[in-house]
Amino acid sequence: MKAIEANGLTRDYNGLRAVDHITFSVESGEVFGFLGPNGAGKTTTIRMLTGQLEPTSGAARVAGYDVVAERARLKPHIGVVFEHQNLYERLTAQDNLRFTAKLYGVSPERIPQVLALVGLKEQARVKVKKYSNGMKQRLLIARALLHNPEILFLDEPTRGLDPNVARDIRAFVTDLARKGVTIFLTTHYMEEADRLSNRVAIIDHGRIVALGTPAALKAAHGTADATTLEDIFVTLTGQGLRGRFEE
């Protein structure tokens, strides 16, 4: 079953095309890496798939629901870890989750469970402003998982984290995937995408320029000098950047 289906998804901002007719699908239980340089259209795509932004044209279904017409029914099935650490900093971790639980109609008994899952049970009553970046990131994941979503959107989940915390987060993602949660992951770290993703899509200038398993992309686009996913990413997207400067 398809967890995500995007068909010709397009979004314009003030005459500029941020996402340009992208078509892809994500299987249920798959970890799908969505890669691209800054401003390529990754976050705009996530915003459309999570019902925050209406597409200019095209359509998408997430968890079987149309992201525009069935937005309200879609939301309980998805969890989102945003690019920014957007927590209520003056509240404790527990209170942040209690508020989210009320929005989703989730029993408060689930709060200690998810806090334990991300290793924050002991710090539940500490105000979030006192948390380290790594702790905040784990709390963001706990919040996104509170209502047991089928699909988890992770927007740059390890950005700016120290290597140990980033490794914990990656292990956590692997574990979630093993439990059958579909994961839509955007990241700048190609090694991370290579290790975690079943398939990746590379987006540049709002268009998908490559789509497939990391191994298939390496086979299709690799050369003697370009053997890693990062090399292929640079080959596929760096040309565009250079081209932009040359213009």
Binding site: G51, Q52, A72, K75, I78, F82, N86, K102
Partner: protein, 359 residues
């Protein structure tokens, strides 16, 4: 429906607490409360060291008025055309004052060795104890001046405010409009702004909360603080209130209008600087005409008439009317409709802004 209400209440409950932790929202709440308390208490504190004020109308040419002019214990005002004129001006007072009617036969009664009886008037909002104290102070002063006993009898029928009365009615009316508009407008604005700046609004947008439920949650918070501020002001001016139903409708209408303005600001702007600039751009055109409407003789009639169409001016009129006695529906219906219509139109604008942003 239950789920929708749960979401709206969850947002409102969080925001009601968060408003006290958001330094900008808290500053708005505290400064508005300070203004309303200051408006009520400053005249009282200022008058505490002053002699009791007496407004006297003398039917005859009694010696009392001349004597009272020399008194250090009471400040005397005379020169009224009639007892009704005196009562009308007594209603303009900001602190308890005594209106004194001196009978035409005052001198003769005194000369005959009898005790003259003077009729005293106080405003409806002056409590019995304050009225009694005032009566005692003035009576003792007159006895000391005349060297003969007099009796001041406070009239059962106190002097009621009219919709156009100045004094405490206007002072508290302005304070109530201020506290309602400022808290209702700025508290939700600062809360929305903070959610935008910390990007927690995105969290709400991907949750089962719809944009309208988010707006309603913020609106409830604004209403809570606007009505709380207004409630404090009303509690401080409780003796003034003659029409509880009208004042409740006025407070709710004013709170709805101000909250709708605040939601517009929150929906339209992204930074505190923009909000500060635009909120003053709204506050000044709302407040200046209020003062203009009070000084109608100084401005062209057309300008004063145009000012009457502003919701803030209508609110001030409604608060003053709620303090007055002997009012009819025609004294307040048009203004109440204007306030609620303005609130409804502004809420429609908010809905449109939210739906447009949603796309």
């Amino acid at each position: 429906m239950k789920q929708k209400l749960r979401i709206i209440w969850a947002i409102a409950a969080k925001d009601i607490v968060e408003a006290l932790r958001n330094k900008n929202a808290l500053a708005v709440i505290l400064s508005a409360l300070f203004v309303v308390i200051a408006y009520r208490l400053l005249p009282i504190l200022g008058a505490s060291s002053e002699p009791a004020t007496v407004l006297a109308y003398d039917y005859g040419q009694s010696s009392l008025v001349e004597m009272l002019h020399t008194s250090t214990q009471s400040g005397l005002y005379t020169g009224y055309a009639s007892p009704e004129h005196l009562k009308r001006l007594l209603a303009e007072g900001e602190v308890p004052e005594l209106g004194l009617i001196i009978p035409a036969d005052f001198n003769q009664t005194l000369a005959a060795g009898r005790e003259p009886i003077l009729t005293g008037y106080v405003n409806t909002w002056v409590g019995d104890r304050d009225a009694h104290d005032l009566e005692q102070i003035v009576e003792n002063e007159i006895i000391a001046l005349l060297g003969a006993p007099v009796d001041i009898q406070i009239a059962d029928q106190k002097v009621a405010l009219q919709p156009n009365s100045g004094g405490l009615g206007v002072t508290m009316g302005i304070a109530l409009v201020f506290v309602t508009l400022m808290t209702g407008m700025l508290v939700p604005t600062h809360l929305i702004l903070e959610e935008k700046q910390t990007k927690t609004l995105d969290v709400l947008m991907v949750s089962p909360a719809t944009p309208m439920q988010i707006v309603l949650g913020k609106a409830l918070t604004g209403l809570f603080y606007a009505l709380l501020g207004c409630g404090v002001g009303l509690a401080m001016s409780f003796p003034l209130i003659n029409h509880g139903g009208l004042i409740a409708l006025t407070a709710v209408g004013g709170a709805l209008f101000s909250v709708a303005l605040g939601l517009c600001l929150g929906a339209l702007f992204e930074t505190r600087q923009e909000v500060t600039l635009w909120s003053w751009g709204i506050i000044l055109p709302l407040f200046i005409p209020m003062f203009l409407s009070l000084l109608e003789e100084l401005f062209p009639a057309g300008l004063v008439r145009a000012a009457q169409w502003l919701p803030s001016v209508a609110l001030l009129h409604l608060f003053r009317t709620s303090f007055a006695s002997d009012i009819t529906a025609s004294d307040w219906t048009a203004q109440l409709i204007l306030v609620y219509a303005s609130a409804a139109l502004t809420l429609v604008l908010v809905t449109w802004l939210v739906r447009r942003a949603d796309r």
